[in-house]
Symmetry: C2
Subunit: 218 residues, 2 copies
């Protein structure tokens, strides 16, 4: 379980206890929502896993959907952090290498968050659509400019920045969402440091260097 909020303890421990309770509920909710979706997870099960009564859960979060949104909100920020770090001052090689590593770390440390995010997307992101169209879109547009700058400068081969970003998202996310499949085939998880490094290294090598020995000029 990996809580996403840095809870700074407040004045009296009494109020902090309830905040801790809220967080326990959110953690349990993340665990179950990420497994069964909004409709598939029951409040009973969440309350049970959090070790509180259902009434108590509904005291803190007035409805199931409110709880779901609260959990999702907590995820979103963490999720977009890596792409914000992309900066024109870096070399494309360093920036992309770093981005890949951070993203694979996310897939390792926040599997459930990754999955819940994926679930929400699959369902058409009814609760995030707005933010996708505004915040995320603007962010991607901004970083696309950076990438295009690199290309114009000749330090990156011509590529559509959008598709590059999708490729990076898809690849790294895959290691969290399809962990079962990967474990079935490779017998390893990102929790294994060696496998983690191999993952980062291989993605970096393919994306930056490509697979073909000599770059075919066209």
């Amino acid at each position: 379980m990996t809580p996403l909020t840095p809870s700074a303890a407040v004045s009296p421990g009494r109020a902090a206890a309830s905040e801790a309770r809220k967080q326990r509920i959110r953690d349990a909710a993340l665990s179950l929502f990420s497994q069964f979706g909004l409709r598939g997870a029951s409040l009973d099960a969440i309350a049970n896993q959090a070790g509180v009564s259902k009434t108590n859960l509904l005291y803190y979060f007035p409805s199931k959907e409110k709880l779901y949104i609260s959990v999702l909100q907590q995820i979103l920020n963490t999720w977009l952090e890596p792409i914000r770090a992309i900066d024109a001052d870096q070399s494309p090689e360093a920036a992309i290498n770093h981005y890949i590593r951070i993203k694979v770390e996310l897939s390792r440390d926040h599997v459930q968050a990754s999955r819940l995010f994926c679930l929400e997307m699959i369902q058409g992101a009814p609760l995030l659509k707005e933010e996708l169209h505004s915040d995320l879109r603007a962010l991607v547009e901004e970083k696309s400019k950076v990438i295009e700058g690199w290309i114009a400068h000749g330090s990156l081969l011509p590529v559509d920045p959008h598709h590059l970003i999708y490729l990076l998202w898809g690849t790294t996310q895959h290691y969290a969402d399809f962990a079962v499949q990967i474990e079935a085939i490779s017998g390893k998880t990102l929790a294994d440091p060696e496998f983690f490094e191999a993952t980062v290294d291989n993605i970096q090598r393919i994306v930056l260097g490509g697979l073909l020995p000599r770059p075919k000029e066209s």
Copy 2:
């Protein structure tokens, strides 16, 4: 309706009609399961969308889980087809280019299947785990040998075949599962032929040629 194949079936029109009904149910089930998962989709909703009564649905599929498995089974074969096509006789360039195209086509033409597959993976693939460990694993192992052959032959730069396959899976799958996100950002879908071609082309270019202009060292 006149049956096109007057084979020696017991009752040609009747059997065909019921099979069509079964398929309509499976289609509706795929549509709803892929959106809400096994637990999130109700039999009522599925029957309703298929245009049959719930009783009729349960007549053809004795339980919800049986229906789910039946749908999943139909998907699996289609899903593994592209990787089967990878062949040592082809050049790696041709093979990988072809694989990427086929896989993006799958993401375009079978969005719901892709999503249901993804959902199942996220939940830990309780119903597919066996086949992942046996069939899929063997298949991947076999194709990894082919890739390693290419590398030994010097027609492919050294890379872990597993991670290459994961990258291809993740990237292509992403266009189906995260279509909402992609549409929010790029404003296009794979249904748009231009966007489809751009997708295929960019993935091919990145994977085969890499991003960096010229490797200064090897």
